[in-house]
């Protein structure tokens, strides 16, 4: 008697299992990955002004009446650096002006980096302590000040005209 009922109950259980196929939610993970390289982007650029270096055949942003240029550079990460190149003509040359000193400087806070070419460069600030090593940038916005000088480190008078030069800054992200 007991065996019959056990068999019967087993069928009940199996039948119930066969009927108990509820729909189950299924899930799957889809992975995503990628690598981002740090970038630096230049923003606003403000032109500087060159004025005569008194007593010399030279113009500079550091002379009285001149003004620094500036540029902002925004970096997505630290360990980026910036370098500065010597000034180059950005317009028509002034006739009879034959400079042999080309000097520029970029400043970020208390740090200054310089680029100097020419046989007899000026040694006034900010070129008193030349340092051409790359300048470290911060992650985020960096406001850079730029100075330049171009001319001849000898006494004399500059020819009249408009002097147009530019200084190239190069940011190198990590």
């Amino acid at each position: 008697m007991n065996f019959r009922l056990i068999a019967l109950a087993s069928c009940v259980a199996l039948g119930s299992i066969a009927l108990d196929g509820k729909a189950q939610a299924q899930s799957v993970d889809v992975p995503f990955s990628g690598t981002v390289i740090n970038t630096c982007t230049f923003g606003a650029v403000t032109s500087g002004t060159l004025t005569l270096v008194p007593g010399f055949q030279a113009v500079s942003s550091t002379a009285a009446g001149g003004s620094q240029g500036s540029a902002t550079v925004t970096c997505s990460g630290p360990v980026a650096t910036i370098t500065v190149a010597t000034p180059v003509l950005s317009g028509a040359a002034v006739p009879a002006f034959a400079p042999n000193a080309f000097q520029s400087a970029v400043k970020l806070g208390p740090l200054t980096r310089t680029a100097i070419s020419g046989a007899t460069p000026f040694t006034s600030a900010p070129w008193a302590v030349p340092n051409s090593a790359p300048l470290p940038l911060f992650a985020g916005v960096n406001v850079l000040a730029v100075d330049m000088l171009v001319g001849t480190n000898t006494a004399g008078t500059l020819p009249g005209g408009t002097y147009n030069y530019k200084v190239v800054l190069t940011a190198s992200p990590n």
């Binding site: 008697m1 007991n2 109950a9 259980a13 690598t35 740090n38 970038t39």
Partner: protein, 183 residues
């Protein structure tokens, strides 16, 4: 288990007999036993996220979505349901690893039935988003229904915020959970 108890109880015996009949009916009806709704995921293809070409401080994989900025490589997965109208939904991207300085305010995942591109579903972080550009803006968050048989789903994701900039350099890894509820 019930049958091992007091078998001399006539009422309980009668009750047991009814249950056994229904049990047999189930065993003898194989069609009913085989009609369980089920869906199966196969062929998972990982995606690749890259810095968004929109200039936003975000990483995204959106290639192939209509109107998208077509950045990165979207992931995909095949889905086969034995009944129509299964419900597909997608969870938020889950962070596995990212540079410590990356603090996204919005994360969003998007799934699309390739055979029926208007069928999409998205998930968006609470309190932020969605992103304003295609294909992330204006997507329905409700699960969508998918047809019977083999289908392919396209999966995209984006993390970051709606401001201009760049995510910090480094390696990023996320995963998105796709869920289907058979009908």
């Amino acid at each position: 288990m019930i049958i091992t108890t007091k078998l001399k109880d006539g009422t309980r015996f009668l009750s047991l007999s009814i249950l056994s009949l229904s049990g047999w009916a189930g065993m003898l009806n194989p069609v009913q036993a085989l009609s369980v709704s089920q869906c199966t995921f196969t062929n998972i293809t990982p995606g690749t996220i890259v810095k968004s070409s929109t200039g936003l401080k975000a990483l995204e994989a959106s290639t192939g979505f209509f109107g998208g900025s077509n950045d990165g490589i979207t992931g995909s997965v095949d889905l086969d349901c034995n009944r129509p109208n299964a419900l597909v939904s997608i969870g938020l991207p889950t962070l596995n690893s990212a540079p410590a300085t990356f603090n996204p305010t919005i994360s969003q995942a998007l799934v699309q039935d390739i055979n029926n591109p208007t069928a999409t579903g998205t998930s968006i972080t609470n309190g932020g988003g969605p992103f304003n550009h295609a294909p992330w803006a204006g997507q329905p968050t409700a699960p969508f229904r998918i047809g019977k048989g083999p289908q392919t789903l396209r999966i995209g994701m984006i993390v970051g915020d709606n401001s201009i900039g760049s995510p910090p350099g480094g390696f990023y890894s996320y995963s998105t959970v796709l869920t289907v509820v058979p009908n």
